[in-house]
Structure formats: C-alpha cells, structure tokens
Symmetry: D2
Subunit: 293 residues, 4 copies
C-alpha cells in the first residue's frame, strides 16, 4: 500500500507510525522517534531523519536493532519465519533457492560472522548479485568491529531507503534506481543498427545466465533500459549482440563463418544507483565500446 | 621422414614413388603419373602436378580414389584400420575421442552422405574444428552430385598439400599455414600493455574450451603466435584478456569490481591459411578491436 | 510577420494571397492557384500544394517564374534591386561581400549558365556554404536542359519551403532544420569531459574560419547544438577540441608538449535537414569519432 | 669523413684528436682528455667519456666551453662566421632564413638570456622545430642559473652525440634517431587500405606546411617512415589522409560530399629519439587513432 508524503505529514501520529513503522526491521521505535519532526519536505528527508534516529540511538538499542535482522539465507528463511519485506528481498537474488551446498556455505559464513562480530551479516541484497554478496561477505569478515558496525548501518540505510521509496510517494524521492542502457551504431553504414537482437547475461561464478533480451529500435537503442526502475545489482554482466545476423540482413560480405557473429561485451556494475551506458560501435570487422553517459 | 625436393627430382623413379606415393590415400598411381614430369621447380608445383593427375584421371579411377578414403570418425577408425596419416589427422580434431552420441551422429551423417553421393565424406580435418566439420557436413549434404564431387576433390587437394608440405622440403613450399596473433595497447598510458595474461578459447557449440595461454611481452605482443605453423582451424574463438589485473598493477582507479576485468573478443576464423591479427586497444573504461594486418 | 495556419485557412481569399503571395518570387499567381484548396491540414501540405501549382503550370508560365529569380551575387544585388527575401538569403552566405575577383567568377558562371539554359542559376543558398554553391554551379552547368530545369524547380521548392516555414505557424511544419551536435567522452576517466573548449570552423577552399564556439557541460555536451534551428549548410567543417587543456586540468601525464593538444575532426555535411552527431571519445593518447545519432 | 671506432681505438693519439676534436665546439681539449681511456667498447661509450670529461672539468673551463658556442640565429650566422657544424645545424631548422622580425625576436631573446646567465642559449636544434626552440627559449629564461647551466650541458650532450654518431661508425652506436610511422586500416573492408595518399604537415604557429608525402602500400603502411634516420623534431604535426578518394575508388557510398574526405590527425612529438606510430582505422563514417608501437 502506498502513502502520500503529504498525508503522512498531517495524519495522526499513530497512523504515521502504523504506516511506516515496519520499514525498519522490527523497530517501530524509529518511526516514533521522528514523528515529532514532521512535516518532512521530501521523502528523502523522511528517510534521512529515520536513519538519524538510528545513528543517534544508544549503542545497546542500535545493537538490538541490528540483531533483529534475519540471517541471509538462514534457518528463518527456510522455516518461513521472515518478515514479509525480508522474504521478498532475499528471494530477489535467489537466496530462497540455494542448493544444499550453497546453503551450507552461507551457514558457515553466517556463523563465522556472528562469532566474530556478535550480530548477523546484513547486506542490501537488492543492490547485489549472489556473487557479489559472497565476495562482500568474505571481505567484510576481515573488517575490524567498528568498521563493520558502520558498514552494517550503511547497508541498513540502503535497505530502508528502498523500503521507504517503495511505500511513500511524493516530493524529493531518494535516488534508489540505476539504469543500464545500450546503443548499437553500424559504423559501416554510418547509421544506427536496427533490429539487432541483444541478450544480457549475469555471471554467477564461471557461468552466465540470461536475464534479459531486447531488439534495437529505429534509433539503435532498446525501447526500455536493459535494467531500470530498480538498483543495478553489483556484479559481472555480458551483453551479447547478434551483429552477424545484422550484417547478413544488409547483404554485407563478412566471411563464412562471419568474422564477428555474436559480440560479447563483458563489464561489471559497481554503482547500483548509477547510469551505465554501454554502446557498441561496429562494422563486420571491428568494434568498440566504452562506458558512456 | 623428410625428403629434399632436389633429391626427389633426381632420384630413381621407383624411389620417388616410394617416397611420396602414400601422400594420396591408397593411390600410388598419382605419384607414378607425375614422375616423368620431373624436375619440379617448387614443392607447390609438385603438389599441383599430382592434383592435376587426379583431375585428369578417368572418372572411374577418380571415384575409386575418392572411395578409398576412410569415413570420418567411422568404424575403420574405431577398429584401428586407418592409414597412419588418416589416423593422425582425425585425432587432431578429436574425432578419435567422440562420445557414443557424437559417434552415432557422425555415423548417421556418413550413411546419409554415402547413400546420396556414393562415396565417403572427405574433409581436410586439419583446417577445421569439430563444429565446422559438422556444419560442413550438413551443408554439403544439400549439394548436387557434381558440386559435391568437385568439393571432395578440393578437400583432397587441401589434405595432400599438407601431407606434401610435411614430407618434402625445398624451394617454393605451398602456403599451408595460417597465423593468429594479437597485440595489447594500453591507450590510457599510451604504451603497449606488458604482462597481460591472455587465454584463447575455441567454441564447441555453446561451450568454449581453452586451447592456449600467453602473456604479453614488452611490445604488448606474445612471443609466438597464438596459433601458427599450421592451418588455422575454421571455427569460433574467444580471446580473453586480463585487463583488470593490468590496470590494478598500474594502480589505476577502475571501479570495484573493475568496470572491465576479463575482456573477451569473440571472432571466427574462415581462412585457415590467412593471417588473423586481433588486437585490443583498451583503457579501464573502453576498448576496441579490429581485424588487423 | 507570422501567420497562423488556422487563420490562413479561414481568412478571405485576398488576405490569404496577400499574406503568402510573395513567398514565391514575383509569382502571386501561385498563392491564387491554391486558395480554393483550403483548408490545409498542415503547413507542409500548404507548401506542397503551392509547389504542385508550379509543377502543373504551363511550361511558359514556369519559365517566366524561374526567370523572375535574381542572379546569385549578380548586378541586381549590387544595385540593391533584390526583393527583401532574396537579399537576406544571399547575405546569409556572404554573397553580398564578395571580392572583385569572386564577383567576376560568379558573373562568368551566371553568364555561361544563362547562355546554356536560358534562365538564371537558382540555388537555395541557405542550404549551402559558398564553396558548395560554387561546386554546384560547376556541376550543374554540365547538366542537360531537362535535368537542370527539374533541378531548378527542386531548388525553388527548398527556397519556398523555408520561406513558408518562416512565415506560417501551425500544425505539420515542414522539416527544414538540421542539427549539428557533439559529445566529448573522456575514456581515460570513464566520464563525460566537462569544460572542454570547442571551436567549429567552416572551410572556404583551403582556409577554415571559425563560425561557433562552445564549452562542454556536465554531460560532455554543448548546451545548444553547434548549428540548429536552420538548415545545415552543405560544406566542409572542422570541430576542434582543446583536449590538452582538459587533461592538463585533470593533472594527467600526456607528454610535453602533450601528444594531443587540439584535436581536429574534419567532416562534410551533405544533408542540410539531417542530424549530424559527431562525438569525440578520447584519452591523452588516442581518440575516435563517428557519425552518431 | 667517417671513422671506424676500431681505427680510432688504435690510431696515434694525435690522429684520434684530429679526427674527433671538433665535435665539441672549439674544445679540442675534450678529445685530448679521453684519448688515454681507449679502447672504447662502443661509440656510445666514447661519447659518454667525452661528456664525462666536460662534466668533470673545472667550472671556468666549462664556462669557457659553453661560451664558445655561437648565438642561435645570431650575428655570427649572418656574418658567415660559424663553424661548419654549427652552420649546418642552424640551417636544418630554418634559422638561416629568418625574416627581419624573427631575427629581431631571436636577437632580443639572446640578449636577455646572456644578460641573465652570462653564456649563450644552447639548444640541439636538430631535435626541434622552430616553434619548440622559441618555446624552449622562453621557458628556459625563467630557470635559475644552476638549472639552466645543467640544461645547457644536456643540450651539448645531445648536440655532440649527434656529431659523434655522424662521424664515427662501429659497435654500440648511440640511439640518436627517432621514427614516425603510420598504418591505414580500412575497417569497412577488414583490410589494409592500399594507395591512400598521405601528407605530413609541420605547424609553425597557426600555419602548417607540408614536409612529406607518401602513399600506402599493400600492407597499408608507407614504404619508409614518414620521418626516420634522424631525431624527430619536437613540435606539432598533422597527418592528412585522403580517405574520401580511397572509399570512392572502392565504390562505397559515403555521402556527397563524402562525410570524411581528408582526415587530419594532429599530434605532438615530444621525444626526438622515440618511435611514434600513429595509425588510422577508418570507415566512411568513423575513424580512430592512437599512439601505437
């Protein structure tokens, strides 16, 4: 259910807390702490105020809050004991369908992490692929306690910013979405390449699986971003362009088999809220790409 | 055993025939047909004369000659009944280690081919990958009889040219070898990229397997061609360059994970005797390639 | 003075003719011929109807109409005897400030042309540079009479389309304007290049003169097109980018003097109503450009 | 007259000094200082020994030596009072044909320089264009005395290294020559571009003058380097490639006038002994270049 910021700014305190109290995991006190600061000029300001309440809370309250978060791919998930929000988030990156071996790996990492830091590993899964969650997990296990506590709060800021943005509408929405786009220029003809089939693959370890397909339009672009309206999951991707078919349809000599048939462009996304424009300029015998804008 | 052209040009006829008679499969008459044309000015001329003898032979003799070739991946191979030359050639492309399913596929294609044309499918395997042999097989099954007979003779020309080139040394060697090379320019620094790890993969269907590795030298090149001293097998390849490691070693900001880590360049080889130079020009944020010279 | 198409569609016939009668040089009969076809669904349709009236007029009327056009850079221009429209058009390309020698050259071409064809040389000067007018002049002198008469009518269509578009506003404006734009990507940093000084030069023979300057904004683009809101004059241009200053401001090593300082991109415009996007992708040691979209 | 290093190593001391004594301007004592160090293993070692003698000489001897060099474009040049070596060197960069205004500018710079430092401005003119000499002159006038004295000795090292390399042959020649080369790839066809006319221009201020022409051969290269067998003069250059003619000869559609006709690549040379490879990869609608190797 969506709430208008304007309504939240003027409704009764109890209704305000009921509306957004669950955006901070098991911590309705966060909403209560900011209700007196209304009105908020923007949705982003509302979220910042709530994070401010977390950051200025006493240490034991912060710790209890952090400890209230479920394990990633943990037993609570298996037992169906997650909050609705957490369940959706973990499913988005496939953490609900791990193999026994993967489940065991997460289990070991969770245990080692809690053993070292005394609270569960928290990461904003919607900003990650499964691979980058695992690499974050291993990297963060090497942190000292203070650095890691700050990192955990930062991840909570990412998580709750997305939850607020999904629940509250109005002025000054926080910037939570990224965009991945492409563009195919046929530099043999000096024109956009029209009708080129494109696949987007995401890597998990050595293997890539297809997550989107598109066909270029009259401007050599895709009608919609390849990923948009959400954070771009940190990870490794490959765009594959069927340029052999394109030049064949134009009747251009390109060798048999064609020198270039499927052109893969492999790149990483590191900024989930960023704009990645990854164009392809190509002839039957050459191509180039770059991070564009 | 190698023979010098000069020696073959002046030795006794019988010795000439003994030396090179087996280069044409089960057809010592080919060598006998050209012994009187000696001396040959070049190794290429020797081979052309032998092919000329084949092309001007009566049709039934040509057909018997063609029929003397073994099936590709056929029962003779399994039974160890191939000539030594044929055995080596078929092994070079892995036809000696097919799965039961692959063996059955070749068997069906061989049968359909012989049923249609009345002679076995002949292809110069050393100019092909397993994938391109299969695609040739299916394409040639659609030929009419005259076109296919000419194609079979052309493949025999390729096979025997390689056999002659491997057995006879001297002036005017036929051009039987191709070359695949690369070059890595770091256009961020304006210098060759030194120490970049490179892998060369060959595709078999959807899967690629690594067939060579190299590291760039002080000129950004590899000390030896990636493939050289032999025909380049027709097929699909992917060069993979560890550019993320390269820029990391230079201390260059490139995102985390780096925007470009492993850069794949996928291309086909269509001319086994050609020179394919496939360079990479790259920065941490862009790259380009082209068929160079 | 501007007229709304809707008004022209319903005003008195005499007012309609008074409003647009002078768009066809000394030929008010053209407006009169189409007044009965009102209402026009678009400004483009109005212009097409007027050209239709010209094309279907008797030959002698067409010829009289064509002959009513002034010489390019002719004596009428010197004597101040041009219509206001013609005077502005000729001035736009500098035909009002020719040297004696250039004036003499135009004079000779005009005479040769009228001698051969019996009517003056007509060209839509706003779609040309002085160079391309001269090259058109010499090329068209080689036409046969029928081809050249058709060419003259086509040029009149270009001229009058611009005049109508400048005078009448409303639905369905004819496409008379082109656009020249650029974009500078710093592929060393993986970002748009901000604050790069750009000059646009137009060639006249061997010499280039600067016709516009701009500085790239936060997106690496210019705030306005380099040429826009008018036809792009056919001719040769050079964009010059101060990339040496850009990399110097970033503190990047680039040689002394820098390998790249001013980067010139030289290109021709052949389609006055087209969109030319001519971007620059560059590092201190490399650059590329292409006709984009 | 050339001398073999081997001969110089074993000839009489007086002959050694006579042979190379004049390579250091008016300073036969330098050769005398090193005659006892013979044999030299390489020509480079001979030169380094002579510079060593200069660098370890007493300050007043160094100063006298430095002061023995003529003014650049000075009155001695006008009066014909230069040593033969100096005359040739100054002529190579056009210092013997200055306009009155340019002569006056050099004269002022020389006076200011001698006023400040007490010795004449010395620069190895064969490593410079006229433009870079002037920019060096102005830059070095801002040096402090110690820095400038070291700079003057370094320039003398450049000058004498060239003189030694021109006079003595043998093992271990010093690296005194640079190389400027190019390569044209037609990435529309996937082949070297053959028969492309190339001009090399050198800038003097705003104006460029042509200093070399070439045509690409079957490999898309020029038969000889554009500059080779000498130091590359520091300065700004422009390569101009007639790509419009190239694609016209192939019958390729490229617009009228062609989008790309003459492609200029403007770059600087900063390392006279370096290798500058400046290739052009192009289609009728795109091109790229880079500093290659």
């Amino acid at each position: 259910m969506f709430h208008a910021l304007a309504d939240l700014n003027r409704t009764a305190s109890a209704d305000f807390c009921a509306a957004i109290g669950d955006t901070f995991e098991l911590a309705p006190w966060v909403a209560e702490a900011v209700v007196g600061q209304r009105p908020f000029a923007s949705v982003a300001a509302l979220h910042e105020a709530m994070m401010g309440a977390v950051r200025s809370a006493p240490r034991e309250r912060q710790l209890a809050f952090v400890c209230g978060h479920p394990d990633l791919a943990g037993k609570a998930a298996r037992a169906g004991a997650l909050t609705e929000e957490s369940r959706h988030e973990q499913a988005s990156v496939g953490l609900d369908t791990l193999s026994e071996e993967e489940f065991a790996r997460f289990h070991r990492l969770n245990d080692a992490y809690k053993e070292k830091f005394g609270f569960p590993f928290i990461v904003c899964v919607r900003r990650h692929t499964r691979d980058s969650i695992l690499s974050q997990f291993e990297r963060r296990l090497r942190h000292d306690a203070a650095t890691e506590f700050a990192t955990a709060l930062q991840e909570i800021a990412f998580i709750t910013r997305l939850r607020i943005a999904a629940k509250v509408t109005g002025e000054g929405m926080p910037q939570v979405n990224g965009r991945l786009s492409t563009h195919v220029l046929d530099t043999h003809a000096g024109r956009p390449a029209i009708g080129v089939a494109i696949e987007l693959h995401e890597f998990a370890g050595e293997r890539a699986h297809r997550i989107a397909t598109a066909v270029t339009n009259a401007d050599g672009r895709t009608d919609a971003p390849l990923i948009g309206g959400r954070p771009l999951p940190i990870g490794i991707y490959e765009l594959r362009f069927a340029v052999g078919d394109h030049f064949r349809s134009r009747g251009i000599e390109q060798g048999d088999p064609p020198f270039l048939d499927i052109v893969p462009l492999r790149f990483s996304i590191a900024e989930p809220e960023g704009h990645y424009h990854v164009p392809l300029l190509c002839t039957p015998w050459s191509y180039s790409t770059y991070r564009g804008s």
